[in-house]
């Protein structure tokens, strides 16, 4: 009556599938949406139920792989850690590992221990980041603030050791760039104690909260077979009961020296994935405490092979810091190498091909969020619209990392 449906009314779409067709509403979820992140979802809603969801990624595609070919290989480290800033150490570790295998570099013992400590801190950082965002997606601002507050203490420790809160650029081929000062060792145990205590409170407030529990339980179910078939990774697959962790199954570093468990939950829902995250923070604390007792306080920061490229004057201070001048005069061999680490969100994979110049011929990157996207979409189908943030956060999906 005078009002056109096109102007004022739900834009409904008739689809012929199903008995008698069904009327669905297409919702453009993102990229400018408080919880979508830099991605768009075409959500098809039948009432409150998501019947179909299509991702539209690529809004933060930064041509990481191509940029990796256009500059000196050592410049790739500050570049690639921008893939996933919360998990910077594990990303750069994978890239450095690939370079080490290409060059044939060894890693010094001290650097191995330091890498484990920082890699686990990086995992804690990524998990806290995801838990915090998951909490705010569920509406719990307190969970968000606590997780980010705890992460702030962690990045302050990073700042003490590496000079930067978010972009440490700390792992270099053959070892690490700087030795942590005494203040770092002084403050680390206290932080771990506080984290453990506060994590229990977080668990009680957000996950054991009857409201939070009902938001997570039986939401976004992903069976074991589906999780494996869709190649989910990280908490996405361990939450569905698949017992797989790069640190244990494709060993790297010195993780085999420590006692720790792979956290696996059988639920397959958002709750299980969140519990995996919390369990992994506890395991990481365990690993850091063991490594903290054994870490050598003195010794070269990089392995023998990489030391040869360092000028003699700068070689004298290798126990304290590594000047990058030696790397800048290194050219890549005609070889290839691959590195794989387990980050907070799953498996980071780097493959590099040398070109004979200082630039790499090709860098191939595979990131966990991109892998988890398919499983994430699968888990959304049949859920309610209000479950979408709960599922999103449970996978810890991070569009900048997925788009590369």
């Amino acid at each position: 009556m005078g009002v056109e449906m096109r102007e004022y009314g739900l834009v409904l779409r008739e689809t012929s599938s199903g008995p008698g067709g069904r009327r669905t509403l297409e919702l453009l979820f993102g990229p400018q949406h408080p919880t979508s992140g830099h991605i768009r979802f075409f959500v098809e809603l039948d009432g409150d139920i998501i019947v179909d969801i299509q991702p539209d990624p690529g809004f933060v595609h930064r041509t990481m792989e191509k940029l990796g070919e256009t500059r000196h290989f050592i410049m790739g480290i500050p570049l690639f850690e921008r893939l996933a800033l919360p998990d910077a150490i594990n990303v750069t570790w994978a890239y450095s590992m690939a370079l080490e295998r290409m060059f044939g570099y060894d890693v010094s013992e001290r650097a191995e221990y330091l890498r484990v400590i920082f890699g686990e801190m990086s995992r804690i950082s990524a998990h806290l980041y995801d838990l915090g965002l998951h909490a705010i997606m569920l509406g719990s601002s307190t969970g968000f603030m606590w997780a980010f507050g705890l992460r702030d203490l962690l990045v302050n420790l990073w700042a003490i050791a590496t000079g930067s809160r978010t972009t440490p650029t700390w792992v270099v081929p053959g070892g690490v760039r700087r030795a942590p000062p005494k203040a770092f060792y002084d403050r680390l145990p206290g932080f771990l104690d506080f984290l453990e205590r506060k994590l229990d409170e977080f668990y009680k407030l957000v996950i054991r909260n009857p409201v939070g529990y009902s938001r997570l339980k039986d939401v976004g179910y992903l069976s074991k077979e589906e999780a494996a078939a869709y190649l989910a990774t990280g908490p996405g697959i361990r939450g569905s009961g698949v017992d797989w962790d790069t640190r244990r199954d494709i060993p790297y570093g010195i993780y085999k020296n420590f006692e720790w468990n792979v956290v696996v939950e059988d639920g397959g829902d958002s709750l299980a994935r969140t519990l995996v995250r919390i369990g992994e923070i506890r395991e990481s604390i365990k690993i850091i405490r063991q490594a903290f007792k054994q870490v050598p306080m003195d010794g070269p920061l990089i392995g023998h092979a990489a030391t040869h490229k360092i000028p003699p004057k700068e070689r004298e201070m290798l126990n304290e810091l590594v000047r990058l001048s030696g790397y800048y005069v290194t050219t890549t061999p005609l070889a290839e190498g691959a590195g794989m680490t387990e980050g907070g969100r799953g498996r980071y994979f780097f493959q590099v091909w040398g070109s004979g110049t200082e630039r790499l011929f090709r860098v191939r990157i595979s990131t966990p969020s991109w892998q988890n996207l398919r499983a994430f979409m699968k888990a959304c189908i049949g859920a309610r619209l209000m479950d979408l943030p709960a599922i999103y956060g449970s996978f810890g999906f991070f569009p900048p990392e997925a788009d590369r």
Partner: protein, 336 residues
Amino acid sequence: MLPSWLLSVRLWDFLFVVIVSGIILLTIIWAERKIAARVQMRVGPYHISPKLGGYLQLIADALRFLTQEVIIPQDANRWLFVTAPPLFITLAYLPAFLVPLSPHFALLTGPALQYGLVMSLAVLLYLSIVVVAMGWAVNNRFAYIGAARESLLTTAYEIPIILALASMFLTFKTIDPVGIVERQTYVVGAIYNPIAFIVYIIGVAIATSRFPFEIADYEGDVATGPYSDFSSIFLALTFGGGIYVGLFSYSLLGALVFLGGWAPITPGPWPVDILGNLAAAVWVMVKTFILMVFFVFLRSVMPVLRLDHTLAFSWRGLLLLSLAAAAVSLAEFFLL
């Protein structure tokens, strides 16, 4: 000798309500932020008036809202888009003028005052219609979904709130607010019928979209729903401030019916002069403020409940609970 109009009770009541409710609104939003900040290991509002603990931040925010550009989306129904927010805050504010704040301190007199509580409730329950109208006027899909949710939630809270207040009317054998408060001189309504009090608290939390029932304007999926395209003064009138005014009115009703209104802790009549009446009104406002603090505290500890869970909880739990409250009151009606 003061002119007679200066001693008018209505004038004093009007001024009191306007000034005190304004102060309460400023304080409650400030308190919400400060309490949440305290829980969340941070400072909260600080940079504006650091000596007052950031209390004037709200005034700065209000000024910003007032001076912001008014944006009306091209596809919106302009007429409704512009009229709904003022209507929202008017309806939310009206109950404060319909109920007495002491036996003599009211805008209304005579039989009209007796129906003050019922009228207030009727006015407040119209708020959801305005919210639905806003969602429709905005003409975007998130707002539509939010408006649809609001109308679904209306079915969840409306009957329990009405039943909770109706059972209190049964308990007190009157709907006259002055009479209701008189009967609470020694025992407050919340003790007469605790079930009705619980039902009322939950119902109000849903009605004013307090956590964990911030569903129609849930930021996670519908991006503040019906309010999603409102900005500047419109946002201040609805999502930024109007909801708190609604909360104030609901809390005022709760304070009168369940917390004893101006009934003193110690027995004995208030002085009937203007100071005594003012003191009674302040006492009502203190109770209102305490109720509001409880509601805003929920933000610090609760995530958001799912829509279908809320509806199921409301129809299976809250409705039965409110029926139980009515049964309790019925027993009291015959026994007391």
